[in-house]
Symmetry: C2
Subunit: 249 residues, 2 copies
């Protein structure tokens, strides 16, 4: 029934890892257990490049996923990183600084291996925040500061659109004159040839299965496309129509 | 008396162009008139690349600076852009998207011409927001979304440190889990070999004359350096000590 070129694709793309007032990944516990459990995952390969303390970050993820029954290994621990990706049961890329993360993926030359493992071999991919940014076509809609220079903004392209994580509504009482998030994304949409942007508020996520991309969480998501006003979509929306549209271009 | 390699340097680096509740450049009127008047400037070359509507943006600047007695020309209007820079009396680079602006400067190959005109020939340079970011060593501390990919983050290097414009203090009541501005700049300071960051709140500016860099405006500025806690400096501070420090390295 699927017209997807990637029927095996399984992605859990979280807007954020921590949701006020809970602990790290706590709000997403149910989604994560379901998502990884469905593929009988026992061991997760964690990519800690978005922060500089790779071991400390990996330990934090171990402390969160361990009690839920998942073993965690840090990609930084493997001498042959492509081999580690190629034998992974599941991959989780955590948040931090998106530029640092993407530069790490380029420096260690693991982008193609991850892409193939996820799209062709169908292993589950989980991203949060910066890990969600790099799962999309490019990092053009990250909120992060460009603290390092990656060789490109093109990313894993596991989905052919962009996501803006941690989407923040404009505060009508603010006197600050920096651009609002909406203004920033609309400036991006003025650049010729760029794909649409799905803006995920904190606590929201997309669960992608083949050519379906279901919005989960409590809040609506916004779709920014060209000059049009951003359009709001409720929980349960299947953004899979974007796969069809972008394929047709 | 000056030990500066650039005794003729004259820069007015504004954190922002609009300050609540005033109009465009209104809060900075006195500073701008003094700064340009000192060099008997009659005509300003405006660089509108940070926004896509170059003519509309230039018209806006004309409407602001015209009544104060300054003619404004847009760099986009000149076929030979280096020649326009080389014959300019003063240069103003406006805000918008820093990535778009820097890419424009690279695309039109005017970085070296601007740098030489300002540092060697001493014509006044005025920047606001993104125009202040590109006046520094690099754009690593912009707040903007990376909507286009410039060939480098290295910028005009009219000053050898970084500036964070529109600096925003952490809101202790926020439940948002995206990084605070302070966290972002501190992540930058963890990258080996990067220069210090002067964080300018809205309404603040640096006036650079040779090897002096005086903080003006109503508010204190923060200096981020390495792992140290950011340090606060009052209006009137001369950040020229950074020129000495960075030269010594």
């Amino acid at each position: 029934m699927s017209s997807s070129p990637y029927p095996a694709r399984q992605l859990l793309l979280l807007s954020n890892s921590t949701l006020h007032p809970g602990g790290y990944l706590e709000y997403a516990q149910g989604y994560i257990k379901d998502f990884l459990g469905r593929s009988a995952v026992k061991k997760v390969l964690f990519v800690p490049f978005a922060l500089r303390d790779h071991q400390g970050y990996t330990d934090k993820v171990k402390a969160a996923l361990g009690p839920w029954g998942f073993q965690v290994e840090g990609l930084h621990d493997f001498a042959d990183k492509c081999q580690a990706v190629n034998s992974a049961q599941a991959i989780f890329i955590g948040g931090g600084n998106t530029f640092q993360l993407l530069k790490g993926l380029y420096d260690f030359q693991v982008l193609e291996a991850i892409r193939s493992r996820v799209l062709d071999h169908g292993i589950p991919y989980m991203g949060s925040s910066a890990g969600t940014n790099v799962s999309t076509k490019s990092i053009h809609t990250t909120n992060d500061m460009p603290i390092v220079f990656p060789p490109s903004f093109e990313a894993l392209n596991l989905v052919p659109f962009n996501i803006n994580p941690h989407y923040l509504d404009t505060d009508p009482n603010s006197t600050h004159k920096g651009e609002t998030r909406e203004e920033r994304i609309r400036q991006y949409q003025q650049v010729p040839g760029v794909p649409p942007v799905v803006a995920l508020r904190e606590g929201s996520l997309l669960e992608v299965t083949g050519d379906h991309a279901i919005l989960k969480g409590q809040l609506e998501a916004l779709l920014f496309r060209g000059d049009a006003e951003p359009r709001s979509y409720p929980t349960g929306t299947d953004f899979g129509f974007l796969f069809q549209e972008l394929k047709a271009q």
